[in-house]
C-alpha cells in the first residue's frame, strides 16, 4: 500500500517544484565572450616564479611516457596530413579530456592549415594558440582598499589546500596575508585552514560551523584593514553548480568581499585535473555567478592531463594561472603553456 501514499506525496512534491519554478527568477547570465581589458594597475609578481618543469610529477611523467607523442612524431616526416595521423591526434586529445567539440575544432584547424612542419608541431602550435590568454596575477588593490583573492569550486578539488599553499607563497614574498575561513559547511574545513595559517604565519579569521560565510569574509576584511595587511585569501564551501541557490549564495559572498574596504582582484576557480567534461559547465556557472578571473588546476601530478582547460580557455576565455604538481607548498607553480602542452601530448 505504501506505494500509493508515495504517489500522493510525490504529487505534493511536484506541486512544490511547479511553485518554485514559477517563482524562480531566471536571470541566467550568458557569459560575455569579450572580457573587460585588464586594468592598468597590474603589478608583476615580486617573487621569482619557479618553472613548471620543477614539478617532480611532470618531470617523471615527461620522461616515462613518450609513446604516443613518439608515434605522432614518427609519422610527421611524410609531409601531408593523412587520416591516420589525424586519428592519432584525435585519440591523444580525447584521452587528455580536451573534449569532443574542442578536439573536432582543433582537427578542423589542422586540416585547414595543413602541417608543413609535421603534424606534431602543427597540433602543438594549435594548442599553444588556444592557450594565449593573459595570465598576469593581480595582487594589489586600488589605493586604500584591501586586495582579495576569492576561491571557488566544487567539492574536493583542493580549494583549502590551494589557499594554504598560496598563503605560503605570498608570505614568502613578504606580503602580510589574512585567511578568511569561509567554508563553514564542511566539517573541520576551518581547522584545516587554521593549520595552514599556523604553518605560514598568516592571520586567520574563522567562525563556527554553519556560520554565515559572508560575515567571515567581512570580518577578515576588517581585520586586514586594521592591521594593514596586503591580501585576503577567502575560502568558500565546495558547491555543485546545478543549484541556483548555492550559486546565488556565492554571488553574495563575492559582493561582500568586493565592498569597501575589500576589492576582489582575483577570483580563482579551483579545478581538479582528473575532472572530465563537467569542468566546462563548472567554469561556465562559476563565471556567471562569481566572475572567475583565473583557474588553479590541481592534482596535475597524477596520470590525469587536465586537457579540459584548453576547452575552457578557448570557449570562455578563462586562463589557467596556477597548477598544482605535488603535495608540497612549492609544488603550486605558475602555469606554463609550453610545458603543459608537451605534457598533454605525451599521453
Amino acid at each position: 500500500m505504501i506505494v500509493w501514499w508515495i504517489v500522493l506525496a510525490l504529487l505534493a512534491l511536484a506541486l512544490v517544484v511547479v511553485w518554485a519554478r514559477s517563482r524562480r527568477r531566471r536571470a541566467r547570465v550568458v557569459p560575455e565572450p569579450e572580457r573587460a581589458p585588464m586594468p592598468e594597475v597590474l603589478v608583476p609578481r615580486v617573487a621569482p616564479r619557479p618553472e613548471l618543469d620543477d614539478g617532480p610529477g611532470l618531470d617523471r611523467r615527461l620522461a616515462s611516457s613518450r609513446t604516443i607523442f613518439d608515434r605522432v612524431r614518427s609519422i610527421t616526416s611524410q609531409g601531408a596530413l593523412t587520416a591516420d595521423q589525424l586519428e592519432v591526434v584525435e585519440e591523444v586529445l580525447l584521452r587528455s579530456d580536451v573534449g569532443v567539440a574542442t578536439t573536432a575544432a582543433l582537427l578542423d584547424q589542422l586540416r585547414a592549415q595543413g602541417a608543413p612542419d609535421g603534424v606534431a608541431s602543427a597540433i602543438r602550435a594549435a594548442l599553444l594558440a588556444s592557450l594565449s590568454a593573459e595570465r598576469t596575477v593581480r595582487t594589489t588593490a586600488d589605493e586604500g582598499r584591501v586586495a582579495v583573492w576569492l576561491f571557488v569550486g566544487v567539492n574536493g578539488v583542493g580549494k583549502t589546500t590551494t589557499i594554504g599553499k598560496l598563503a605560503w607563497h605570498e608570505t614568502q614574498a613578504g606580503k602580510s596575508v589574512v585567511l578568511a575561513a569561509g567554508d563553514t559547511f564542511r566539517a573541520a574545513a576551518s581547522d584545516q585552514l587554521q593549520l595552514w595559517a599556523d604553518r605560514t604565519g598568516a592571520d586567520i579569521v574563522r567562525a563556527g560551523e554553519g556560520a554565515d560565510p559572508g560575515s567571515v569574509v567581512h570580518d577578515a576584511l576588517g581585520r586586514a584593514q586594521a592591521r594593514g595587511a596586503d591580501l585576503v585569501l577567502a575560502d568558500t564551501a565546495g558547491r555543485r553548480v546545478n543549484n541556483a541557490n548555492l550559486l546565488d549564495e556565492l554571488a553574495k559572498i563575492r559582493r561582500v568581499a568586493d565592498r569597501s574596504p575589500g576589492q576582489v582582484v582575483e577570483t580563482f576557480l579551483v579545478l581538479d585535473a582528473t575532472t572530465g567534461q563537467n569542468a566546462l559547465s563548472q567554469a561556465q556557472e562559476f563565471l556567471s555567478a562569481a566572475d572567475v578571473t583565473g583557474i588553479v588546476l590541481t592534482k596535475l601530478d597524477g596520470t590525469a592531463r587536465g586537457g579540459i582547460v584548453v576547452a575552457i580557455e578557448r570557449e570562455l576565455g578563462i586562463p589557467v594561472k596556477f597548477v598544482g604538481v605535488g603535495e608540497r607548498a612549492k609544488d603550486l607553480v605558475a602555469f606554463e603553456p609550453t610545458a603543459f602542452v608537451d605534457s598533454l601530448l605525451s599521453a
Partner: protein, 496 residues
C-alpha cells in the same frame, strides 16, 4: 545526469524512425552519434570502442523483430548493451563469521573518502550493525577532525592516534574487536595511483588488517583518467568494488562505465548528495534506466519506506481521496518528504520528468520548503482548513507575516487548489490533468507496485490507465514571478 546521453539517443531515434532499411552507412552514422554521446559523458575511449563493437555485433547478429523499425533496433541494441556494461545485480554485502568485518576505503585526494566513510557507517548502522570508524589520514590537515565531526553526527565512534597510518589501522581494528563492534571502516589518505611510496603504505594497511572489502572511492565527474586510477588501485589492492560519489552533479557519470568496464568489479554504493542520508547501494539496472531517462521509482519507494511514517501518510492519503485535503495535511506530507532526503535528489529519481521540470528541480532546495512552510504557518487555523476564505486583506497579512509577497501566497493557493482538484478527480475515477512527467511517474509506480504485489486503492487504476492521455500541463500557474528581494541577509548554508 546523463542528460546528454539520453538526449542524443532520443534525437537519434527521431532521425532513424523513418528509415525502412538500415544500410551499413546509416548504422555507422548512428554509432558515431553514440560515440560522441559516450565521450561527452566522459566514458573512456577504449571502453567506448568496446561498447560500439558490441553494439555493432548485436545489430548485425540479431534478427530484426518485426515490430521494430531499424532505428528502434539500433536503440534497443544500445540499451541492452548499456545494461550489460553496467553489470547485472547489486553486490550483496555479507558479514564475516568472525567479526569485525573490515572495510577499507581508498582513492584519490578529494574523491570524498572521509564523507563516504561516515555515510557508509550510517548505512551499516541502519542495517542493524555496530560500525566503528578508523581514521588513518594523518596527512591532510584536520582530516581526522573532519571524520570525528561526521562520526559524531551519525553516532559512530572514531579511532585515531598520531602515530603512522599502518599502526593506527592495526590498533583501530584491535580496538573495535575489544569493543565488540562488528564492522570496521578504515578511512585512508588520498593518494595518487602513481605515488609508489603511498601505494606501498596502503598495501601495508591492507596487509595488516586483511580487509573483507576494499572499495575504491571515485568521483563521478572524473574524466578519462578514471580507468588509470581504477586499474592502478585494483592492481595494488585487489578491489572488491567501487563507490561512486557526487552522482548528484550534472555528471554524466561516464566514470561509472569506465571504471566498471576496466576493473570488472561492481559499483557497490553511490553517494547522491551532501546529506549523510544521500547514500545507498548502487543498482546497475536502475542506473541504466536513469541513463535512458526512465527515472528510478524503485529507489524512491525504498527510500520512502525507510523514512516515512506510514500511518501519517495513510491518514492524509485518505483525506486526499475524499476531497477533504487541507493545507495542514499538505504540510504534514511535506514534512514526510523532507525526511526522505534532499528534494533535488528525489526529483532526479522520478521517472518521466520533462526537461523543464528537471531544471526546476535542480533549484528546489529545502529553502523553498521553508518559504512554503512560512506561508502556511502565517495562516490561521481556519484559513488552513478553508483556504477559500482567504481574501485580499488576508493575503496581504499572510504575505507580511511570512516575509513573502502576495504573489507567492497567491501561487501557493492556486497550486494547492489544482492539486486538490486532481486528487478528487482521481478518486472519482476521472482522468486528472497532471503536469507532464507526473503521469508517467504514476504509471511506473503502478507497474512497480504490481511487481511487488501491492494492492491498488480505488481510483488509482484510473490514474494508471488514464495517464497516457494526460496533457502536459506542467506550465500551469507559471506566469507570475516572485520579486527578488534586494539587500537581504546572506543566507547561511545550513539548509542544503
Amino acid at each position: 545526469m546523463f542528460d546528454s546521453l539520453s538526449g542524443r539517443l532520443e534525437r537519434l531515434s527521431t532521425s532513424l524512425r523513418s528509415r525502412a532499411r538500415l544500410s551499413d552507412a546509416d548504422l555507422e552514422d548512428a554509432l558515431a552519434e553514440v560515440r560522441g554521446a559516450l565521450l561527452e559523458a566522459d566514458v573512456e575511449l577504449s571502453v567506448v570502442r568496446a561498447f560500439l563493437d558490441a553494439v555493432r555485433e548485436r545489430v548485425r547478429g540479431e534478427n530484426v523483430a518485426q515490430s521494430l523499425t531499424p532505428g528502434q533496433h539500433v536503440i534497443k541494441a544500445v540499451h541492452d548493451q548499456l545494461i550489460d556494461v553496467l553489470g547485472g545485480s547489486t553486490l550483496k554485502v555479507t558479514y564475516s563469521s568472525k567479526p569485525p568485518t573490515v572495510v577499507l576505503l581508498a582513492g584519490l585526494q578529494g574523491a570524498g573518502k572521509t564523507t563516504t566513510a561516515a555515510k557508509l557507517a550510517a548505512w551499516f548502522k541502519q542495517q542493524g550493525r555496530q560500525p566503528y570508524l578508523v581514521g588513518t589520514d594523518l596527512q591532510r590537515p584536520a582530516a581526522v577532525e573532519q571524520l570525528r565531526v561526521l562520526g559524531h553526527q551519525v553516532g559512530v565512534e572514531v579511532y585515531s592516534e598520531a602515530t603512522d597510518p599502518v599502526t593506527v589501522a592495526r590498533a583501530g581494528v584491535a580496538e573495535a574487536t575489544r569493543l565488540g563492534r562488528d564492522v570496521v571502516i578504515i578511512d585512508t589518505a588520498g593518494r595518487l595511483a602513481i605515488d609508489e611510496a603511498l601505494m606501498a603504505e596502503v598495501r601495508a594497511i591492507s596487509a595488516t588488517t586483511s580487509p573483507h572489502y576494499t572499495f575504491l572511492v571515485i568521483d563521478a565527474v572524473t574524466g578519462q583518467d578514471a580507468v588509470h586510477t581504477a586499474r592502478a588501485f585494483h592492481d595494488s589492492l585487489a578491489l572488491s568494488g567501487i563507490i561512486v560519489t557526487k552522482l548528484d552533479y550534472d555528471a554524466r557519470g561516464g566514470a561509472v562505465l569506465s571504471a566498471r568496464g576496466v576493473v570488472g568489479r561492481p559499483v557497490v554504493f553511490a553517494s547522491t548528495g551532501e546529506k549523510l542520508g544521500d547514500f545507498d547501494l548502487f543498482h546497475p539496472d536502475r542506473m541504466a534506466s536513469r541513463i535512458l531517462g526512465m527515472g528510478d521509482i524503485l529507489s524512491l519507494i525504498e527510500q520512502a519506506e525507510r523514512t516515512m511514517d506510514a500511518d501519517a501518510m495513510a491518514d492524509s492519503a485518505q483525506r486526499m481521496m475524499s476531497g477533504a485535503f487541507t493545507l495542514d495535511d499538505f504540510m504534514a506530507q511535506l514534512n514526510q518528504i523532507r525526511k526522505m532526503g534532499s528534494l533535488g535528489g528525489l526529483m532526479r529519481l522520478m521517472p518521466g520528468m520533462t526537461k523543464d521540470m528537471r531544471d526546476a528541480a535542480k533549484n528546489v532546495d529545502d529553502g523553498e520548503l521553508n518559504k512554503i512552510e512560512a506561508i502556511i504557518h502565517s495562516m490561521t487555523r481556519r484559513e488552513r482548513r478553508e483556504p477559500q476564505i482567504i481574501d485580499g486583506s488576508r493575503r496581504a497579512r499572510i504575505a507580511r507575516g511570512s516575509g513573502s509577497s502576495v504573489t507567492a501566497v497567491n501561487q501557493l493557493l492556486k497550486q494547492f487548489e489544482m492539486m486538490k482538484k486532481t486528487m478528487k478527480q482521481m478518486s472519482t475515477g476521472g482522468m486528472p490533468q497532471l503536469p507532464g512527467g507526473m503521469g508517467r511517474m504514476a504509471q511506473m509506480a503502478s507497474r512497480a507496485a504490481a511487481q511487488r504485489g501491492d494492492a491498488m486503492p480505488p481510483g488509482f487504476e484510473a490514474l494508471a490507465s488514464g495517464m497516457r492521455s494526460a496533457a502536459p500541463a506542467a506550465g500551469a500557474g507559471g506566469g507570475a514571478r516572485g520579486k527578488k528581494k534586494k539587500g537581504g541577509r546572506v543566507t547561511p548554508p545550513k539548509n542544503r
